[in-house]
């Protein structure tokens, strides 16, 4: 019987007192989540430093940036979209598609800048497609973006097929730019992707936590109807978030292409789930309205550092999968655990 109320508690804003209490609990736990993440991060760092002889090494930081920077960048628009209660599973495919667009144009002798511009435009268009289907047509975003996930990757495959650009006889991408894959920013150990991510993260954080727009996003995620009745343009916000997501992911595609100084249609295959994992582990509620950019940044750092440490220790990659899954479970179980226990007590009391 108690479990019946589950769906209710989740699907309608709380009315009864008990419900309210639960909501407050979750509210507080959300506030505490970042603290928990800091602890975990410290734990990972200590573990890495203690176990791996090469972990405490300036290059580690650079490599970490190389490995997770472009994924982290995709996690930012995802954060905003999840904040509004939607999801975008097409991010990784968009990364691949934009890369392929750049690749095919480059292959046909376009010069770099116009090719990049077109690729970013494709990103905007793809995002707009998601936006129209989700925000304007009101279709469930999970279904829509599974569709575009397939579509975008498919288009990428049509564009490049078996080609890896630069193919034999092609020009190499501008060395000055592909340099971001091999050299940190002079005088630092920061990869360019890291800095770009951090800058975007700050922008994202300010927008989400300190502007009317960000407040609107919270409202939309928590209670779309109430938001609409407060003069918030719910559909418009969602639409543009998808466009932004498209552009940012396309941009990530450019970065990855330069970082690898090459591109093939399969670039970034399957990363969408990693992105979602990062965002959720960052404490962003899958139902929207709750979460912080800080949390997501911490989550990125944790996943990145963990991967570095485990690879250096040559731990089976399978273990890394398991840890990812475990962290994800923890991120939802911990905040709900308390309530669950409470409910069990209630239940026992009734018996």
């Amino acid at each position: 019987m108690t479990s019946d109320m589950a769906t209710r508690a989740r699907h309608s804003p709380g009315d009864e007192g008990t419900d309210t209490a639960g909501r407050r609990a979750r509210w507080r736990s959300a506030a505490r989540w970042e603290v928990g993440l800091v602890v975990v991060l410290i734990g990972v760092l200590v573990f890495g430093a203690g176990e791996s002889s090469t972990f405490v090494d300036p290059t580690t930081f650079f490599y970490l940036g190389i490995n997770i920077g472009y994924i982290a960048i995709m996690a930012l628009p995802m954060t905003l979209i999840v904040m509004t209660g939607e999801i975008d599973l097409s991010v990784a495919s968009m990364l691949g598609l934009s890369g392929s667009v750049l690749g095919v144009l480059w292959h046909h002798g376009w010069s770099f800048v116009p090719a990049v511009v077109v690729a970013l435009l494709v990103g905007a268009l793809g995002g707009a497609l998601n936006g129209i289907l989700v925000a304007k047509a009101g279709l469930p975003s999970i279904a829509v973006t599974i569709g575009t996930l397939t579509l975008f990757r498919g288009l990428a495959e049509i564009l490049l097929g078996s080609l890896t650009v630069p193919a034999a006889g092609d020009r190499q991408f501008p060395a000055a730019l592909t340099n971001i894959g091999v050299a940190p920013i002079p005088g630092t150990q920061l990869s360019y992707t890291t800095v770009i991510f951090l800058v975007l993260a700050v922008v994202c954080g300010v927008v989400l936590h300190a502007t009317p727009l960000g407040r609107a996003m919270h409202a939309v995620g928590l209670q779309p109807e109430a938001a609409q009745f407060s003069g918030i343009r719910v559909r418009r916000i969602k639409f543009w978030l998808y466009v932004v997501s498209g552009v940012v992911c396309a941009f990530a595609g450019m970065l990855l292409t330069l970082q690898n100084s090459s591109v093939s249609y399969s670039a970034g295959t399957g990363l969408e789930l990693n992105v979602v994992a990062i965002v959720l582990f960052g404490g962003v509620s899958i139902f929207g309205g709750r979460g912080t950019v800080v949390g997501v940044v911490l989550s990125v750092a944790i996943f990145g550092a963990l991967q570095m440490a485990l690879t250096q220790l040559n731990v089976q990659p399978e273990i890394q999968n398991i840890i990812t899954g475990a962290l994800l479970l923890i991120s939802v179980v911990v905040p709900n655990g308390g309530e669950a226990i409470g409910r069990l007590r209630e239940r026992i009391k009734r018996k």
Partner: protein, 352 residues
Amino acid sequence: MHRVAGIAIAAVLASVSIVACSSSTGGGAGNTGAATAGGIKKGLTVYFIPKDTQNPYEVLADQGGQKALAEVGGKVVVSSGTQDTAAAQIPSIQAAIQAHAAAIAIAGNDPSALCPSLNQASRAGIKIVSFDSDINCGSSPDHLFINQADTRQIGTSEVDLLAKQINSTGQIAILSAAASATNQNAWIGYMKQQLAKYPNMKLVTTVYGNDDPATSLTVLQGLLSAYPDLKGIISPTTVGISTAAQYFDTHKDIAAKIVLTGLGLPSQMKSYVLDGTVKSFELWNPSNLGYLAGYAAASLASGSASLQTGASFKAGSLGSYQVAAASGTTGPSVVLGPPTVFDASNISQFNF
């Protein structure tokens, strides 16, 4: 674990048996005597970075490498991801750099995407050896490609093998791995050249099974209904050929019409060859490939080998090898030897 033990024994047996046949097929120059770690430093660490840690073919190669380094008193670290992506291999390259490894032996998941990281490695003084699937980084980094068999030779011999069985006439198709798979694409390139010699054989299409049984099966089935008059299929990938073989095995009528050949693991293909579903196919010994890669890496790291054309080095029980000149996109390379053709007569001797 009993399984690991089993595989290890298998590997040893395999290499021994190959020694026999490789000398018979006139592979590496003579001397199949006991290995001597000629001028190779002790205690070298070589990072083996396979396409992924699970692919059985790669696992055999890794074990070959471990065997080689064991012989010269060094050690192998096998490191890679669970999926065949460049992104999964880059962290391993970084780990190798940070661990100041002596050399890296890598099977590239992507011809170019790994180059930046490998460049860093080589600048850090790490010798680079690629095996199974070459990387294509233009000038740098310098690296030695351990070619399982001369790329051209694989392409041509596949076609010849098929031609023999369908007496050089009819439609044929190729069932490959991923569309972006470097070595498959290279071989297919040479197959097309070789087909010019057979005016009556027509390559109708190439389909891609992404080295996934399910996908391979779907495209194979589509292929069959698309080209009813198909006479032969070449599948230059172990997953592709075994999937096709399994399908033919259960559809004798098709097996009767269509000849299947390509590159496959004897262990996976044995039953099909013995019951006649597949007449013959090719492969080399993956553990020998790894073994050779191991020696090459160790020798380069010890300065006892160089990338100069004609430079030679000793590869333990496989004898000594010569560096072949760069040709086309392939840089300096050594060739393990011509692929072994497996058929009912010899397949039982191999257990890899």
